[in-house]
């Protein structure tokens, strides 16, 4: 058992992080969230660059022009996307690679009908699922345009897992931001991170993140349905509560539009609705208990 990142996996993660920091760093994120800046437009150049880097073709066999890697690597890449708050129908396009021509290379943008919602419908070149009757809504997340659809599509377990990976990345980032602020912001003559109230908020953020990490990575290794449900519940919790605690640690500053934490919270909310309901995951995990008890 070597349930730790391999050197190759570490290199892949660092590579994706480097690419995203360069192409979609803090400044780009802030700019993209400016309402003046044509909200709901996708950066096609960046999309193609992601395609070239193998983001979408990651799990396609090399014979089919893919990178030939597996779920663990995909999870690491999507974790980085979540950490950077990268916009766009990443999961849908990744899942379409090899099935929808052009998706793998990033030339074609693919949206998919989820749990009563479609992300990025207007910008997509191809829409998978039944989007009949789609109605645009005013999305709470300025970086994710949304349509409401009357029917829900069955969720691909891989979509659930990759969404959990994004949540994990967001939770990780929220914890980093909170710690960074707690170390430097001074009130009452010392860094606020020296106060137990702040210290313990940050500690709990880390605990939630690291527990979710173990669950998400394990689900990537096993692809077991119960592991995937576990990963999503833990990752949702880590992401939503992490963003809220990060906001609390930042005080008033966290409440400004300029500071990225609200974008993490809003995206985390969007992701909790992307695939199956959390209550369904809970019910399945309960049913699994009963089945195992027999």
């Amino acid at each position: 058992m070597r349930f730790q990142l391999t050197d190759d996996q570490r290199a892949l993660r660092d590579g994706v992080r480097e690419l995203l920091t360069r192409r979609f760093g803090a400044e780009a994120l802030r700019a993209a969230a400016e309402p003046a800046d044509e909200p709901g437009r996708l950066d096609r150049a960046l999309w193609r660059e992601l395609g070239e880097a193998g983001f979408f073709a990651l799990r396609l066999p090399e014979a089919d022009g893919g990178v030939g890697l597996g779920l663990p690597e995909a999870v690491l890449a999507f974790e980085e996307a979540g950490r950077a708050l990268l916009p766009g129908p990443l999961v849908a396009t990744h899942l379409a690679a090899g099935e929808v021509p052009g998706a793998a290379t990033g030339e074609v943008v693919v949206a998919a009908v989820g749990n009563g919602l479609v992300e990025w419908l207007a910008e997509a070149d191809v829409v998978r699922g039944d989007a009949t009757g789609a109605v645009p809504l005013r999305s709470v997340d300025p970086l994710t345009p949304l349509h409401r659809v009357p029917v829900a599509s069955d969720a691909d377990p891989v979509a659930v897992l990759l969404t959990a990976a994004e949540q994990l990345g967001g939770a990780t980032r929220a914890c980093e931001l909170a710690v960074q602020h707690a170390r430097t912001r001074e009130q009452f003559g010392q860094p606020i991170g020296a106060f137990q109230a702040i210290k313990h908020l940050c500690a709990e953020m880390l605990v939630r993140t690291e527990t979710a990490r173990a669950a998400v990575y394990a689900a990537a290794v096993t692809a077991d349905p119960a592991d995937i449900d576990t990963a999503r519940l833990l990752a949702d919790e880590a992401a939503v509560r992490g963003a809220r605690d990060c906001l609390q640690v930042h005080g008033g500053m966290g409440f400004t539009w300029e500071f990225e934490v609200h974008l993490h919270l809003k995206r985390a909310w969007v992701r909790t609705h992307r695939t199956v309901d959390a209550t369904e995951s809970e019910e399945r995990l309960a049913a699994a208990l009963l089945a195992e008890s027999r």
């Binding site: 058992m1 996996q9 710690v179 170390r183 990575y217 119960a226 449900d229 519940l233 208990l289 008890s293």
Partner: protein, 377 residues
């Protein structure tokens, strides 16, 4: 990143399973919780069986993965855990192995491994709990002996122990973390009084220990005089990686039993309770993955446990309390009946956020040592 064990490890598992299948049916009946000599004999007997079968040193010599498999399989098979051997196998023994002289290792280790001697722990004091380094039990040098006076608390198995790993203050002038020394105290030395300490669960699992001019040979000192704090930290961190493997396996079994019981008594039809059990399933599945993650990390770093143990302990101790609160909801009014399963476990789960470092102390550790947040003034 993988979760598969090596063929050697799987072979170890298969052999162990087979052996357990033969050994367990021949175990004597479990003694009652109040029968201390009986429990001593039972626990040491099991350790002797393990030793004879080649598993005696699994807590020490084996790799973290092997230890994980051992703890997983023994718990699944319903085998006894270390019991009275706890301090010897998981605290004092590893400390002596790491810090003792060849003579000390030869004297103390084999009886621990063979299940001949029981150790207890004399660390906490009434005024030194979370702040362990504030301990005041005094030892002054007198010829070839230390003469020790003071009192200790939360000493388990003290009534039947042969030895006590004892922390004493040898230099009261030195800073709080200096001036502490680690001693192996023979429990038959004159001047030791042991008084059982009843917990809120009604059992006398622990004891208080009063020391009145107890003579401990200087030769029983492990590590240097006044270096006991460092020696202790080695002890305390030793078992972090795999400390709760058996318990997580057991909690997952309890969860399945809760589902079955709820299904039987009709409360399964309440979605509030059902989804709560579903969430707890996720919780303990994740804790199992976190254990595997920590074990793999320990294996890669050569067995040195990291501070990740605090992350695990924080999450686990709260999850365990939630588990038994859910059990109470499954039982309904029967949760007030001590003869029902889980009710006593619910009471003892209350100690998990306190013992071996309160959650408050653990959060400080995580914040300061992992996240690098500054200490308060």
């Amino acid at each position: 990143m993988d979760l598969a064990h090596t063929p050697q490890e799987e072979e170890f598992r298969a052999r162990l399973r087979e052996w357990l299948g033969e050994a367990l049916p021949t175990l004597p009946p479990k003694p009652s919780p109040d029968d201390w000599p009986g429990r001593r004999a039972y626990d040491l007997g099991w350790q002797r069986r393990l030793y004879d079968a080649g598993y005696g040193d699994v807590h020490w010599g084996a790799s973290p993965s092997i230890r994980l498999i051992f703890l997983e399989e023994t718990e699944k098979a319903g085998a006894p855990y270390v019991g009275a051997g706890f301090v010897g196998l998981l605290h004092a023994g590893p400390t002596i192995a790491a810090e003792g002289t060849p003579e000390q290792r030869a004297r103390w280790l084999p009886p621990i491994l063979r299940g001949d001697e029981v150790w207890c722990q004399g660390f906490s004091e009434p005024d030194a709990g979370s702040d362990l380094a504030a301990l005041r039990t005094r030892a002054r040098r007198d010829g070839d002996d230390y003469v020790v006076s003071g009192s200790k608390i939360w000493t388990s198995h003290a009534e039947v122990a042969d030895w006590c790993e004892l922390l004493v203050r040898t230099d009261p002038e030195a800073g709080k973390h200096r001036g502490i020394t680690w001693l192996a105290m023979p429990m038959d030395a004159p001047g030791i009084t042991v008084r059982p300490l009843r917990t809120l669960a009604g059992s006398a699992e622990f004891a208080e220990m009063f020391l009145d001019e107890v003579r401990v040979p200087v030769a029983n000192r492990v590590g240097d005089e006044n270096d006991g704090w460092r020696v202790t930290m080695v002890t305390l961190s030793f078992e972090r990686g795999t400390a709760f493997v058996g318990e997580v396996v057991a909690c997952r079994r309890v969860l399945r039993e809760l589902a079955a019981e709820a299904h039987k008594n009709g409360r399964w039809d309440d979605p509030v309770l059902r989804r709560r059990l579903g969430r707890l399933n996720a919780e303990f599945r994740a804790l199992w993955r976190l254990t595997q993650w920590n074990v793999s990390e320990a294996e890669l770093t050569g067995g040195v446990p990291g501070v990740g143990g605090s992350v695990f302990k924080l999450r686990y101790s709260h999850a365990r309390q939630e588990l038994y609160d859910a059990a109470a909801d499954v039982l309904g009014p029967d949760s007030l009946d001590l003869d029902r399963p889980w009710v006593l476990d619910r009471l003892s789960s209350l100690s998990y956020t306190i013992a071996a470092g309160t959650s408050q102390i653990q959060r400080n550790i995580v914040a300061e040592r992992i996240l690098g947040l500054p200490k308060g003034r």
